[in-house]
């Protein structure tokens, strides 16, 4: 008995820790927890694996066996000789048409390409705050440079357009210390006057200066057209949307109701009907004899469409601000314009970023709708000239895959950027 109760039986040091059981560590544990944690999960996993396998076994040979360098579908099918494989050669053969449309002069392709590269440079300081602020000067100049590069013609048009803005801004900044409204409207008036004068001068000077070859709007096409419509309409609709949102929040009943009716009307109809308006109706409302480009009419309608949606997003941002912010601005003695510019809008816009980005992505996708009114954007090119040609009649997957991929890359990166920006602007502590 006594030997059994010997104190020396008690351990003086702890046992070395054993490794966890094999099923509770490493990849086995991960698999058990994430893939096979119950009969339902196991079933889902097996189904997903079967699905992935089916998808991969169907598409991979097609992708990997792709043909990249033939001139027609018949030639491509001949090379494939009955085996599965994609005819990506339609992309290499029609690459320029997919990007620039079929009418843009081919020796001028460098111009839209350069405009696109410059777009990245111009957008960078707006998107990333760490870049030197001086780059914003280039951003301000970019619309005029891009216009000149893409449309060509005489260089005086963009120069005088720019000059009008400069004159307007100078007048505005001289007067803004007295009253915002006076300065704002005088600025607009000054700009209008200088544009009017510039119009005369452009006509005088146009014949004497060297110019880039002018390209008509109806010759724009391909993915370039989507990019033009997307960038122009989003950048124009932001300021208009802000004004509409402020108008809808206003205490002045007439202004409020004008904004409400506009916003609700535009949001209530599909974009296609607005494009119909641009295509067949708008001409009736313009002075007789004027001929607007179709592309300009489409830009007007899409901008109206987008600004109504952006106005709603910003209104949400304005409504989400605590009332104290408005009262604080009032108690500092700021007038309406100052309060909005310095206190309300910076915060409201920050809250609205995700919504604005959603609208922009949606708008960029919706630019494909112009193919319905027989403009040859990327989708229009695919449905029209490419699929109708004898060479490539019947090659669908490759083209639509390419189009989806282009849009996916652009839209997905925009939404990733917005998520990054949201984290960046987060000032509350979590």
């Amino acid at each position: 008995m006594e030997e059994h109760l010997s104190v020396s039986f008690v351990r003086t040091e702890p046992l070395p820790q054993l490794p966890p059981p094999a099923t509770e560590q490493g990849i086995v544990k991960w698999l058990r927890e994430n893939l096979f944690s119950g009969w339902l999960n196991t079933l889902l996993t097996v189904l997903s694996l079967i699905f992935i396998y089916k998808l991969a076994s169907d598409t991979l040979p097609w992708l990997l066996n792709g043909i990249w360098n033939t001139d027609s579908l018949a030639e491509c099918r001949e090379i494939l000789d009955g085996t599965t494989g994609a005819c990506f050669s339609v992309l290499t053969d029609r690459w320029n048409q997919l990007l620039f449309g079929f009418k843009y002069p081919s020796e001028q392709y460098w111009r839209p390409t350069l405009a696109f590269v410059l777009l990245i440079v111009a957008a960078a300081p707006v998107l990333f705050f760490d870049l030197p602020r001086k780059m914003l000067i280039f951003t301000g100049l970019y619309p005029f440079i891009a216009f000149y590069l893409i449309w060509g013609g005489t260089i005086w048009t963009p120069i005088f357009a720019l000059l009008g803005f400069v004159v307007g801004y100078v007048v505005y900044s001289r007067l803004v210390r007295n009253s915002f409204a006076t300065a704002f409207f005088s600025g607009i008036a000054a700009a209008l006057v200088s544009w009017w004068l510039g119009g005369f001068l452009t006509d005088l000077l146009a014949s004497e200066t060297p110019a880039l070859e002018a390209v008509q709007s109806r010759d724009m096409g391909g993915f370039m057209l989507n990019m033009i419509l997307g960038t122009v309409c989003v950048s124009l609709s932001l300021p208009i949307g802000i004004v509409l949102a402020l108008g809808r929040q206003s205490d002045m009943p007439i202004i409020k109701w004008i904004c409400v009716v506009f916003i609700e009307f535009i949001r209530g109809v599909p974009l296609i009907t607005l494009l119909f308006v641009a295509n067949v109706v708008l001409a009736y409302f313009l002075p007789p004899g004027t001929s607007f480009d179709l592309i300009l009419r489409v830009i007007i309608m899409i901008t109206m469409f987008a600004s109504a949606y952006i106005a709603e997003v910003i209104r949400g941002g304005l409504a989400a601000l605590p009332k104290g912010q408005y009262e604080a601005a009032d108690s500092l003695g700021l007038d309406y314009a100052q309060a909005m510019r310095l206190i309300i809008l910076p915060q409201a816009l920050k809250i609205s970023i995700p919504g604005i980005v959603n609208v922009s992505v949606g708008l960029f996708k919706d630019t494909t709708l112009v193919s319905v009114i027989s403009m040859f954007d990327l989708v229009g090119m695919i449905r029209g000239p490419i699929l109708a040609s004898t060479d490539w009649n019947g090659v669908y997957w490759e083209l639509f895959l390419f189009a989806s991929l282009l849009f996916f890359v652009v839209c997905y990166s925009i939404s990733q950027y917005s998520q990054w920006l949201e984290r960046r602007l987060q000032t509350d502590h979590r």
Partner: protein, 406 residues
């Protein structure tokens, strides 16, 4: 002694319209109104000048004239001799058909994908994330065209199903997938068949009554009756019994490969364009709905789940009784605006030749009569009415679910 006098009454001066914030808003509104009237007058006078120059007028008389074109999907009686008005109504019904089908399907896709995105299963979660991102970031028009291409170019012509020894057999003996569309059987009701349908409707009410009774019993006595299998039994059994007792009065008009040498006869054909539009809208919008559902479920704090669990509820009941009622409050408003988007996006039908209201009124009628202003105006009015109607419903709903706070 001091006398108290009234402060000098401020006189209204004209300059106060510009300088005094109390009156300045009047000035602004007046200017805005003037500008608006001027703009409308300008546009209107342009319109009148242009119409006169073209020898046109604004008139809706064309709606009464014969349309002269065929519509490939006619839910109501329509021939090419019918009027443009009737063509528009056919178009409206076709719009509502595809919008309804797409809304139902998109909800199913969206709810499944949204719930699965929160699954514990890694591979399912990733698959659903890929689905959502892939479909949200590609224009819906491209999806419509892709599915339309599958329906028309990738499927065989009806010929392969024909004859004694066809290249392909009907799927389950009932369905044929052809490049014109999917041919599927149509139920034919003999007089007694309607009785079977009546029995079925009665049993639906029976199920509702049973569930009410079970809930009442639970609240009154705490006794829990089984819900699942009795409901199912009440729903199915009487109908089946009635069906066989009345001598199988509902038959199927199935596609017959032997009746005709050139085309399948019998059954009903669902057009490829309808299917393309329907599924593209459903899959595309489903991706958006999935995000709403996920956000709605995640918006419910984890404490709610834990509180319910600590009351001893089982996971299924926690979902049904605690999480979903709260999540629906977050999910339903964006869900309804997604339905609105489906309805508006269904106007893309014109890209695949599905004859919805944009295809009839805004497409062929516009081209044939040249009445651009009138047709586009009517078209906008139709969509506007639907949107305003749906937002009215949404406002009522939002009011009804608003948190009742003290």
């Amino acid at each position: 002694m001091t006398t108290i006098t009234d402060p000098p009454k401020e006189q209204f001066r004209l300059s106060m319209l510009l300088n005094d914030t109390r009156y300045r808003s009047l000035t602004f509104q007046f200017i805005a109104l003037l500008l608006l009237i001027a703009a409308f007058a300008y546009l209107g006078s342009n319109l009148i000048t242009n119409l006169r120059a073209a020898g046109l007028n604004i008139s809706y008389g064309f709606l009464g004239e014969p349309a002269g074109y065929d519509i490939n999907q006619r839910p109501i009686e329509y021939t090419s001799q019918s009027t443009h008005l009737r063509a528009s109504i056919v178009g409206i019904i076709n719009t509502l058909i595809v919008a309804f089908l797409a809304c139902v399907t998109a909800t199913i896709f969206g709810v499944i994908a949204g719930v699965l995105r929160l699954s514990k299963n890694w591979i399912v979660r990733k698959l659903m994330a890929i689905y959502v991102e892939a479909f949200r970031n590609v224009p819906v028009l491209i999806w419509i065209l892709i599915i339309f291409f599958i329906m028309t170019a990738a499927l065989p012509s009806a010929r392969v199903y024909l004859g004694e020894d066809p290249e392909r057999d009907l799927f389950l003996g009932l369905f044929a997938f052809t490049n014109r569309g999917i041919v599927m059987p149509l139920p034919v009701f003999q007089p007694l068949g309607w009785a079977v349908l009546g029995v079925f409707i009665a049993s639906v009410f029976g199920v509702i009554a049973y569930r009410r009774y079970a809930t009442k019993l639970l609240y009154d006595t705490g006794k829990l009756l089984p819900m699942g299998w009795p409901s199912l039994a009440i729903l199915i059994l009487p109908t089946i019994i009635a069906f066989y007792l009345l001598g199988q009065p509902i038959t199927l008009d199935r596609p017959d490969p032997l009746a005709n040498r050139f085309n399948l006869q019998g059954g009903v054909t669902i057009l490829g364009s309808l299917i393309a539009l329907w599924f593209a809208l459903a899959i595309y919008t489903g991706a958006f709905i999935a995000e709403n559902v996920r956000a709605g479920i995640q918006a419910i704090s984890k404490g709610q789940t834990e509180a319910a669990a600590s009351l001893g509820m089982r996971p299924g009941r926690i979902m049904n009784l605690v999480i979903l009622p709260q999540a629906l409050r977050v999910i339903i408003p964006p869900l309804i605006s997604n339905y609105l988007n489906i309805t508006k996006n269904s106007s893309l039908a014109i890209a695949v030749g599905y004859m919805d209201v944009t295809g009839t009124l805004g497409g062929i009628t516009l081209n044939q009569t040249g009445r651009a202003i009138e047709t586009v105006l009517l078209l906008m009015l139709f969509y506007l009415l639907i949107s305003l109607g749906i937002s009215a419903v949404m406002n009522v709903y939002n009011k009804s679910i608003r948190l009742k706070e003290r």
